[in-house]
Amino acid sequence: MLKESISRRTFIKGSVSLSALLGLGAAGTKATKGLIPKAAAKTNGKVEQFYNACPRNCYDTCSILTTVEDGRITFITGNEKNTYTKGRLCVKGNTYPRVVYSPDRIKYPMRQKGRGSGNWERISWDEAYTIIAKKILEIKKEYGSTLPICLNKYSGNFNILNYATEGMLSSIGYTTRAQGTPCDPAGSDAQGFDMGVAYNNDPEQFLDADYIILWGANPSWTSAHSMYFIEQAKEKGTKLVVIDPLITQTASKADEYIQVKASTDGALALGMIRYIIDNQLYDKVWVSQNSIGFKEFSSYVKKNITLEWAAEKTGVPKPVIERIAREYATAKPANIWIGFGMQRHVNGGAMVRAIDALAAITGNIGKKGGGVNYIGGETWGFNYHTMSFGAPEGSGGEKDRFVNMNNFGAQVLAANEPPIKMMWIACRNPLAQDPEPAVVKKAFDQMDLVVTADLYMNQTVEYSDIVLPVTTPFESAGINVSYWHYWMNVNEQAIKPLYETKSDLEIAMGLSKKLNQLELGSCTFPVSGDPLEWVEKELNDDIKELFGVKSWDDLRKNGGTAKANESITVAWQDLKFRTPSGKYEFYSKKAVEYGHHPLPVFTEEYKAPKEYPIRCMSPHWKFGIHSQFQHQDWLMAIQDHPFLEIHPDLAKKKSIKDGNMVKIINETGYMTLPAKITKMVPADTVVMYEGWWKGVNYTENFTVKALQEDMGEYQKGQRGIAFHDNFVNIEKA
């Protein structure tokens, strides 16, 4: 069209030479790139609404209502049909329009000439697929298997269809996988030993609690929608107790706040248990009918635990322990929520077992409004169809090889026969979020090829060879559930994918197509398919029945969100535990199998080295989930730099004033950041919040060692990281 209109011009001659030189014909002829005749049916001002699901690694996993005008998102808010989301989003979710339309998104597949050089060239998807596929086939040929290819993918997007990335890697052969989770492994093992698996009550049932203990959890910042139910419960008379080393935003809302020494929560629980047993406040019937090993546990407690010891250990005075123990044991029902942060210690698993025991002896497990709530996975029974294709015939190796996600750098470097030569990174930013980022960087240096799929430039993309631009939740279909609430949320495609972005599923199909072009049969992953067909394949009869939906499309048409039926929303209501004995196991042979004490005993906390006496904690921050959201300028406009919280006593000792730059250092690394003097942190601890802060050349993990938690192998394959056993020294910079 344009070619015609321009060629009609009388003075076109002057420009012909230019176009001829460029070998492109007259400008405007590349119709695929430029302007075309307007489609007749186009109308202005068309308003539509779509259901989306926030797929981030968050308790709240919100159902979203997206307003689209003229193909453009104008407002994103919560879906009122979801009684947990309640029509509103957290502060982060409210920034989604900016996430989608920031000019700084990664737009095209690009290749970096020289890792870390910042010299990027734009390539087509076909070129990207070709480079990657050729490398995969080359590795396969050289090493006889695809084991030198390592996938590091985790929680950046929990849309079920995003498991296509794992599926794609499984479809090329046996590969190396970053296994485990930095989130919850020790606590999940603990609940696994005690009850068979971690399983939590519906958080909407906080309203049914008579007493709530938030133990190392800060839902004000990490689960605002849960905090609503907790505040409601509080206003109707439920007592809210917060146990935490820090005066968190949630602790600030408590009827009673108890400052425990970090990593001694297990001692506090055991002290309470001693008091409850001594005073015959435990539920004898529950214990005798539903548990094994109570006698052994009880005798351990009587022999080893005293309230004096617990008070000394935890810093909580004996009368307070006694009073809280009595209140908790006599409230019916009483609810405990264990935060993930509480178990990020070398004794985290053992501490969760002790708190579980407290809930068990008081008969609070299996009750609406009660429970010892940590995490759950009851609603995740999808088909995981994207992961079902298996290795191609004749794949070298026998099975996937695992490296611990939590010690990724060191284990990648240590892997041999075959070594790891290529990395695929999706839904993760390991160079910011892993401990010992310097070691992770060394592992990158060993690679022939690093491919990262992401939304935004970050530390990991900066150090990759190829970056693939991915879609936001609003540009592709999917389905999401939560590890906390009991809703299933539809994710519709609300707008066209911007630029050349693709979903992980489309990338998987595209790469498979290329692999099969280059070597037929080298990848079993389907080479094409409609995302809507893919998403329907995720639902099986069980999950449809659980949520009372006919299909994904049915749910899309009917509110976009559905709650699981009540048969599963009270954890362990049937009191059939998934342990070897079928009972709650105070005494766990499974624990012994994994090298632990059979009972919920106290194991010692990590002791501060002499040169580095100050604990540095890095809890979650209200404007971010790991390295997502905080970098958005809507949030940078509120808080644009990291800071270190320091108690006035410690600050005085170190001659540090509010706003002074402080150097924080240990044997792993150092960084310098401004001080915020506050009584919210104890005087033996400093706090730096987690998150990717734009414009600084460090992350909170610079001083974090890959120190293991005590548990994790049973439920998650690998142990977690004791992020909060990070000891440092500080000085005025």
Binding site: P37, G71, R72
Partner: protein
């Protein structure tokens, strides 16, 4: 800034310049072999309007002294400024300037879209690419150029859109450009835009 021969810019040269910028922003020049750069330079040297303004002369001077290193790093710098994957140093989207926070696909984008619609056009990948990418705005202008009856539309479009933001765009190029070619094209743009503005002020025919 002295431009003595403003009126000398003829329609042919304007068409040439718009086409050149379209090719440039579309990325067509990224793969231009080094020998061809000489030919392009010759063409530029023949443009009267360029020789007659400081910015044009500066641009040509840059290109005359083009080093191999500049040719090698041109693409990287171009991408840092206009493409990514990092934060764009000189966003090529109008809404990044008209809209205070630089968000794309906002009201400004839709206003540009309405201009295209008025002329019976649309972006091929509408919704997928913001309509106010400079490449599309240039292509739209090329569409209007040469039809006298489009004079009014072109003037409106230039005044309400392209000319409203390219100065800021150019300022960011000048601030962040590390390469002779991207800088030269920045100068070319700056000089050309001044000529276009004076053409409008002088109420000369635009089409």
């Amino acid at each position: 800034m002295i431009y003595t021969e403003i009126n000398n810019i003829n329609q042919e040269e304007r068409l040439f310049m718009y086409q050149l910028f379209l090719h440039y922003y579309r990325g067509d020049l990224l793969k231009l072999p080094s020998a061809e750069w000489g030919k392009l330079l010759e063409m530029l040297e023949r443009q009267h309007s360029l020789q007659s303004n400081d910015w044009g002369r500066k641009a040509i001077q840059q290109l005359q002294n083009l080093t191999d290193q500049a040719l090698e790093t041109f693409e990287f710098d171009f991408n840092r400024l206009f493409v990514g994957p990092n934060k764009l140093l000189a966003s090529p989207f109008e809404s990044s300037y008209q809209n205070f926070e630089g968000t794309v696909m906002q009201a400004e984008t839709l206003k540009v879209r309405r201009f295209y619609y008025y002329e019976g056009l649309q972006v091929a990948n509408e919704g997928g690419l913001p309509d106010d990418h400079i490449q599309f705005e240039l292509e739209f202008i090329l569409h209007l150029l040469g039809s006298e009856d489009k004079n009014k539309v072109l003037q409106l479009f230039l005044e309400k859109h392209l000319l409203k933001w390219v100065d800021q765009h150019w300022a960011r190029i000048e601030e962040h450009s590390q390469n002779q070619i991207t800088l030269a094209f920045g100068y070319l743009l700056k000089g050309f835009i001044l000529l276009e503005k004076s053409l409008i002020e002088g109420e000369g025919p635009l089409c």
